[in-house]
Symmetry: C2
Subunit: 426 residues, 2 copies
């Protein structure tokens, strides 16, 4: 692995006052890792010119590559280009091709061009301009001593495209990194982090190329294995061996790898088995359907979904009986089962999944406090339900209830007993 | 405003390799701003002990307060406490009350305690322990020279609670910050950033206490005004005056302030007018319903929602006719209107809102390429539809279609003509 120092600097008052979360640093780090480069430090600073100048000078003095994002927009508080010009003594010049492109962009979109958009075509003298196919602000690269400084806009979509199209190969050409870094993430649901840590402790002993990180991503916990070697084949072998050993320890809790999401795994299982799903949501309010429909191809396996908050909707859309709604009540095992059965029967799907509960903050009672959720599942002539007690605010109860619902369905489709399902949130 | 240097350090290999996005720095910055303290720099480093030690020593030498998160977990890659002990020469000791509390927590939850959980009760000598009411890892605070270093767990829920209950008052006591910083965000939808920048340029001239930041948050653009003054009343007056001037410039594009979301604004309008809504979603797949149900009290205004991907579901759940589905087709103005009418009529709601389109990546055609979305609106005996062409991947098309649908409804409820509605994404 290359020991080259690479750092990321993100610029903007909106980062330092917490108005926005910096997602760019993580994006850049992921892309660089694909080149075998590890980021050594990430720094966020504000729009104040002095702060920008001194951060850029620090970075140029200690690192080989610095990726700098933000402050290239059209507004008055965008000062990165000017600060870079001052920090390195290379006054701004008007880059005519960039100005032409900005003009064209406005013409073709029918939007009005404003004078501030012109500012974006000024870049520090001696820099190489980096095209921005998705926006008006070009990027630019400057060399100072040992360091290549690459300046990119802070808009994530533009940044990502520019990294892929220009910047990564520019960095690779400069550094010719040796060796290979590969990684794989095992996605785990249903174990606490400490429990998982105990189960996998020492699992990678004797594989010096591989290292393991535990990534809690509530409500999941992930295990990320990274393998490094000068020989790419050896790195991959170490990765495979590490995965094999980890699966020995936590196998049945792993729902997928890398890009897998619970919803894509559920979709694949439904498709493979020729099942079609109908969803009836009360407390999750459409989140189960939203998550399932994030995965392309969803229309093959999702017959329909309904969000039935009111008693009237539960009766009219799902056929839940008056007796159940007035007896055990809308937040009950009986209602959850009846919703799942109704969704399945009325849609013609083969499987029905339902949620009903108290997401809060209001609506709780002694018997069913805020966070109480009943899940219902129906398949053919059978139906089941499970009761859960979740914690946290409304958004959290929706999130975890939807996640547990998807995992309950996943485990059922894999042959599990729906009534034996347990998760650490009971 | 206090010129005290405050910085944030976040620790974890998972930050540097891009596995997770650092949301803690923004959370801390927001909380500190409430005390009148601005963060000066944010730094992320990995779990490597040498990197942690040197970053902590740098910070102790240049800042008055440093909030450090991460690396206090129970696993082997959690090394912050040990590195702090080494950096400042104060060996770890076992904090018995913390160990007792960890034991209790495991007992009461019925989870198994693992030996690694014990590690979390060891803190550097001379530090003040900070209770963690939501988890097993206590925090701790250390003084070194001019600097107060506060170490907190990286789990956001735990961090937030500890900041609020202990850390913010600890920091305030130490610094006694002078003056007041107040801010307000105007949430704008329907203008590009450059256009908005042009409209507000110079708006705050003559209010030296106030500053303005433009925050693009695709598909929105926000305007954040911050006012600073030693006199809290004066800061508030400057803020009010700045808001008044900005509304003069962009008034009709502002949908809300600060914590307002499009969905909460829509909910409030529906409630005030005594309207109840039914939603029929095809391409947005439940996202409109999910967003509306994120806001407490939604059951007062949302009659029901259906996700009707298939032709069968559009017919059976919403009564869209065969003629329409086979003539103009499921992605058409007629279907969007019929879905909205059907949702309204079948649910008994007073207003119906519908989406149908091609979210992609498959399913596009010459006439209706990927990104084509028709929205439908029904109210009483009238119905309308609008066609949009959005860009980007499946997730983006869902997001922007749901946002435009909510904004279209908002503007209609405020008296706008649904057929005159325009947004910059046509």
């Amino acid at each position: 692995l290359s020991q080259v120092r690479v750092e990321v600097v993100t610029i903007g008052d909106e980062l330092l006052d917490g108005s926005i979360v910096d997602t760019n640093s993580a994006l850049i780090a992921q892309k660089l890792l694909g080149l075998g480069l590890e980021v050594w430090r990430m720094t966020s600073i504000g729009d104040e010119p002095h702060a920008i100048r001194s951060a850029l000078q620090e970075v140029a003095g200690r690192s080989r590559v610095a990726l700098v994002t933000g402050g290239l927009g059209p507004t008055e508080d965008d000062r990165t280009a000017q600060a870079a010009a001052e920090a390195f003594g290379c006054p701004l010049f008007l880059h005519q091709p960039s100005l032409d492109r900005i003009r064209e962009l406005f013409q073709s979109s029918g939007l009005e061009m404003t004078p501030n958009n012109e500012r974006q075509a000024w870049v520090p003298g001696g820099s190489e301009v980096i095209p921005n196919p998705m926006g008006t602000a070009p990027g630019f690269a400057l060399e100072r001593g040992q360091c290549l400084l690459v300046f990119l806009p802070g808009v994530p979509r533009e940044l990502e495209r520019m990294l892929e199209e220009t910047v990564l190969s520019m960095v690779a050409r400069r550094l010719e990194p040796q060796g290979s870094v590969v990684s794989r993430t095992l996605k785990v649901f249903g174990l606490t982090e400490a429990k998982m840590g105990q189960m996998v402790a020492g699992a990678l002993d004797g594989i010096p190329q591989a290292s393991l990180a535990s990534l809690p991503r509530y409500p999941e916990n992930r295990l990320k294995v990274t393998a490094r070697s000068a020989d790419p084949r050896q790195a991959l072998q170490a990765l495979d061996e590490a995965e094999r050993r980890l699966r020995e320890r936590v196998g049945r809790w792993v729902y997928g790898l890398d890009g897998d999401e619970l919803e894509s795994v559920v979709q694949a299982l439904l498709r493979r088995q020729g099942n079609r799903l109908a969803v009836a949501e009360s407390c999750t309010g459409g989140l189960v359907a939203h998550r399932l429909t994030e995965v392309p191809g969803c229309s093959d396996v999702l017959e329909w979904a309904v969000v039935a908050y009111s008693l009237r909707a539960k009766e009219a859309l799902l056929g839940v009986s008056r007796e159940i709604l007035e007896g055990p009540g809308p937040v009950s095992a009986q209602t959850a089962q009846a919703m799942a059965r109704g969704a399945m029967a009325r849609s013609g799907a083969s499987v029905g999944l339902a949620t009903t509960g108290i997401a809060g903050p209001g609506g709780g009672s002694q018997e069913t406090p805020v966070g109480t959720v009943f899940l219902g599942l129906a398949h053919g002539s059978r139906a089941w339900s499970r009761r859960f007690q979740f914690r946290g605010g409304r958004g959290n109860v929706k999130t975890i209830a939807a996640t547990v619902a998807l995992d309950w369905l996943r485990q059922y489709l894999l042959g599990g007993d729906p009534e034996a399902y347990g998760a650490p949130w009971r």
